[in-house]
Symmetry: C2
Subunit: 332 residues, 2 copies
């Protein structure tokens, strides 16, 4: 990998560049809540949180001197830090905005000294201010943790100005190995990984399909027909010829012959289309249910967080390598 140091050490710091450089340090996302002197709930999104001390247990975060909530936090000594979970992006957005009633409609709990607590977070720390320190255009709040709890939700991360999810590296995975023949594949080749993951996943779907008398191409075509009510051979070809590797016409015909599909004519176009028979529909739903159960089982094995990241990356991958396939789901 080439190193592109963006610039020499510069005498005057560019604020935009400085923010960008700071963004290279990945953080979690927290919402910090308290009660103002008049009892109003206040809260804000912050990624300046970090641990400080284990004994006594202490954490810190920084608040802009221009923040609306500054008077509340310099008055009260009690506040709570919520480490947001991966599915709490909207909560982060809500508490990052100014002015509105940020707590409207949220189910709250009441913490130590009445501090409002949010639910569904990865961790919560209830704190009491130990120190308020000067920090340029911010005040640094250092608090002793008086109570905390956590749950198994994977946390939201923040990196380079965007929400992110962190995937743990797994040191127990075998290192990539090259093949004997120079220039051959290693087992780290993306095509191998995609193919093997796909076929390994597909194996038990295939077993179910075979038990129902379906070949691989028949199964692919059938899964496509479940998405839409009536498809033409041309539509199937456009959508999945790349996965079939052969024209879908004969496969559609074979599914008609075995009673899964029937021919119909779509009024608008007048084209011959194929749709599930009642029997085909029942049998397809049975196969789909098994496939979904397989998905749930598989995602459980690699963990919810990694499963979510894998799906996100596959979507990015499909999007960025799309050769211009028609959108099968578009007008489903």
């Amino acid at each position: 990998m080439e190193h592109h140091m963006n610039a020499e050490i510069r005498p005057a710091l560019d604020p935009k560049e400085f923010r960008t450089a700071l963004g290279s340090f990945t953080t979690g996302v927290t919402v910090i809540t308290a009660r103002a002197g008049d009892g109003t709930a206040v809260g804000l999104t912050a990624n300046s949180f970090n641990s400080v001390s284990l004994d006594p247990p202490m954490v810190l975060w920084s608040l802009s001197k221009k923040a609306q909530s500054l008077p509340a936090f310099t008055t009260t000594r009690h506040w709570a830090v919520h480490v947001l979970a991966a599915d709490q992006e909207s909560l982060s957005d809500r508490f990052a905005r100014r002015g509105e009633d940020k707590f409207a409609g949220l189910a709250l709990e009441s913490g130590h000294e009445g501090v409002p607590l949010l639910k569904g977070c990865s961790a919560r720390f209830q704190c009491k201010t130990s120190f308020q320190y000067e920090g340029g255009d911010h005040i640094i709040f250092v608090g002793e943790v008086v109570a905390f709890d956590r749950c198994e939700h994977p946390p939201l991360a923040f990196h380079a100005g965007r929400y992110a999810i962190a995937t743990q590296k797994d040191p127990s995975l075998p290192k990539p190995r090259s093949a004997r023949l120079a220039g051959s594949f290693s087992d780290d080749f993306l095509g191998y990984l995609l193919g093997r993951a796909h076929f390994q996943f597909y194996q038990s779907i295939r077993e179910n399909a075979r038990a129902q008398g379906l070949s691989d191409p028949q199964w692919f075509v059938l899964a496509t027909v479940t998405v839409k009510d009536g498809v033409s051979a041309q539509e199937v070809d456009e959508a999945i010829a790349y996965s079939l590797g052969e024209p879908s016409g004969p496969i559609l015909d074979s599914l008609v012959a075995s009673g899964w599909l029937e021919r119909s004519t779509r009024a608008a176009a007048g084209a011959v289309t194929f749709r599930l028979t009642e029997d085909g529909r029942d049998r397809a739903l049975h196969l789909l249910a098994a496939a979904k159960s397989l998905e749930a089982d598989t995602l459980g094995r690699i963990g919810y967080a990694d499963g979510a990241v894998l799906k996100t990356l596959l979507q990015k991958f499909i999007h960025s390598t799309n050769p211009g396939l028609p959108d099968l789901w578009g007008d489903a």
Copy 2:
């Protein structure tokens, strides 16, 4: 997703549980360096770094009062924070250990006031202590940033006690959609994503293979034969029958007929094996080179960091769903 709050608010804090809860806040990983009074280079790994102020530009981090390097940092006012890149795990490990000469063998640069600077990091901040604050069993160092630089290396992250890589969420990706038929697939179904990503990637490999007169199964078998010098039909079946969906014997025979493979006998086992002919080898290397070039192009499109995470997750996925396939690369 179910919420499992691990415990009620507890009166006395359990240190181990507290560390675990803190671990739910994702961070980057930094190495902080300075020169001690005698000119010796000192450095340590810290994830307690964070930004504090934009104007003036300030950052902070915390150092244990028991740290060997504490006297150095309370004496000098000059230090540098290195935000480590995803490929700098070993540097993190090195600077997290006690006692040894942590800088031995490292190519260093010299920063402001002679502070030793490491190379290949995601970002570097050269700082001058503004404040040293009391923080329980740690000292909080707040420094003004006098210089910084960064490069495009994706950063290392740390989460729940392990190294991690953060994948940015992509708000521009379409939301998952369900199909018309109740119980049918959505385009978020893992099997669909894996299959589509695989086939989309495979499409241009297939085009090349077709131009050489190879069918899909022939290409799969051929790629397998390039890994090892001489494989039997049984070995191919054990390794890739799940991807072929059919026995490999007839495919191997067809590759012999077209001059890509030749039969040979492995001395040890006496079994009939197949190996590339000289011509087959030349043609296979041509196909492999095109496939590798496709991989490089594809990884470039989704970005180095996401490509690395995708590969890691596919490896985890393959590992956790492995039905017990033999290791083709094992004795290659």
